[in-house]
């Protein structure tokens, strides 16, 4: 594959073959607790897409131009979290100030996102896989979309399950994990479509 196509390959791979939730189990906490309703899931999913697509390239810049020159790579965990938290806080304040409807639909989910492991995970994967700036952006965007697809699919299925009879011990998180397992199996069908590590 030519280098110019790599960002797009990474983009599709991060949605389908390497879905951050279904193959790496990242972002499970909010996935399990929020996926009860389609509306909240959509809001949270959108917020995740936005934050991933913006913080991943941002962290790339910080890592390449601040941490590497000063030899502080080992501080990346702390620095990435600070960047993510600061960015999320800023976005929330901006939204609150300038766009009321957008704040209502997106802003209220932003604080939840700072502690979402998937966001930090994407930044850490980006460092390990040595992506370029453009590829990092597409990787962040794709992972966000992948997470979004997984959570709305889960919310849709759980809404249909409301009237189903489930063994009492399996109710709640148990059945959600079983469904997630089936979804992961379905997504395994995509593997081999795009070969990327």
């Amino acid at each position: 594959m030519t280098d110019s196509l790599l960002p797009f390959a990474v983009f599709f791979a991060s949605i389908f073959t390497g879905n951050i939730l279904l193959t790496n189990y990242l972002g499970m906490c909010s996935f399990l607790s929020v996926s009860k309703e389609l509306k909240t899931s959509t809001g949270l999913g959108m917020a995740v897409i936005f934050v991933m697509a913006t913080t991943t390239p941002l962290n790339w810049i910080v890592y390449q131009y601040l941490l590497i020159p000063f030899g502080l790579e080992y501080l990346r965990f702390i620095v990435f979290i600070i960047v993510i938290a600061a960015f999320v806080q800023l976005t929330e304040m901006t939204l609150e100030r300038y766009s009321e409807p957008l704040y209502q639909s997106l802003g209220i989910f932003l604080p939840l996102i700072t502690v979402n492991c998937a966001i930090l995970g994407v930044s850490l994967f980006m460092v390990i896989r040595e992506y370029t700036l453009l590829t990092s952006f597409f990787f962040g965007l794709g992972s966000g979309i992948g997470w979004f697809i997984a959570i709305i699919a889960m919310a849709g299925i759980r809404q249909k399950l409301k009237n189903a009879k489930i063994p009492p011990g399996l109710e709640g998180p148990g059945i959600t994990l079983v469904i997630a397992g089936f979804m992961a199996m379905a997504f395994m069908g995509f593997s081999g479509m795009i070969a990327i590590s």
Partner: protein, 203 residues
């Protein structure tokens, strides 16, 4: 009296208040490495170290942290311990470090650690918080080790890298792939919850 309290603090997270199957917390970072017993052991030890020591540290500092910025302070303390784990692994077990990849760093966002600090360490004395953190880490560790045990045994027929099952065994390769982790965790949660419900009924 003091001993009784310590005992209770220690036993609860291991049994009826287990962070994984009762509160469903913190499975994100570690579930991904449960396809091998060895990796899981290293990861859970990392989590154990971080929960215990960050609970202790926060508890020591609890009267000096302004409540408005406590989240930030907590994250910094947790991140410091995770960085120690990361550096130690990188220095002494570079192979293991490579295999675990980003997951060591993700211990920071493990909800159990932050959860125990918020719920326990901010209100309790240092010794008690250390015990609580230790017990939560242990409660977490044995569930994940159980998952890894099942996944590695069924998925590859081996344990800790040694072949256990003979050539008659057909590997359930689904077990070492992502869906296996979801299914095994779901089944473990199911069994434990049924048991807890039965006990609650009998009481």
């Amino acid at each position: 009296m003091a001993n009784k309290l310590l005992r209770k603090t220690f036993m609860e997270p291991l049994g009826k208040n287990n962070p994984v199957f009762v509160q469903i917390l913190g499975i994100c970072s570690t579930l991904a490495v449960t396809n091998k017993l060895q990796n899981t052991m290293v990861m859970t030890l990392g989590v154990l170290f971080t929960t215990a020591l960050s609970s202790l540290t926060i508890s020591l500092l609890r009267n000096y942290i302004p409540s408005r910025i406590r989240m930030m302070v907590e994250t910094m303390v947790i991140a410091t311990f995770v960085i120690i784990v990361d550096i130690v692994l990188k220095a002494f077990y570079p192979e293991m470090w490579k295999q675990l990849g980003p997951y060591v760093g993700l211990i920071i966002t493990n909800c159990i650690i932050m959860g125990r600090i918020e719920a326990f360490a901010l209100q309790n004395k240092p010794m008690l918080s250390l015990v609580d953190g230790l017990a939560s880490g242990l409660g977490y560790a044995y569930v994940l080790l159980a998952i890894a045990f099942v996944r590695e045994l069924l998925g590859t027929g081996s344990l800790w890298g040694y072949q256990i099952l003979g050539s008659w065994w057909t590997n359930w390769s689904i077990m070492i792939m992502p869906p296996g982790g979801f299914f095994v965790l779901a089944i473990i949660i199911w069994i434990i919850r049924e048991k807890i419900m039965k006990e609650a009924k009998n009481d």
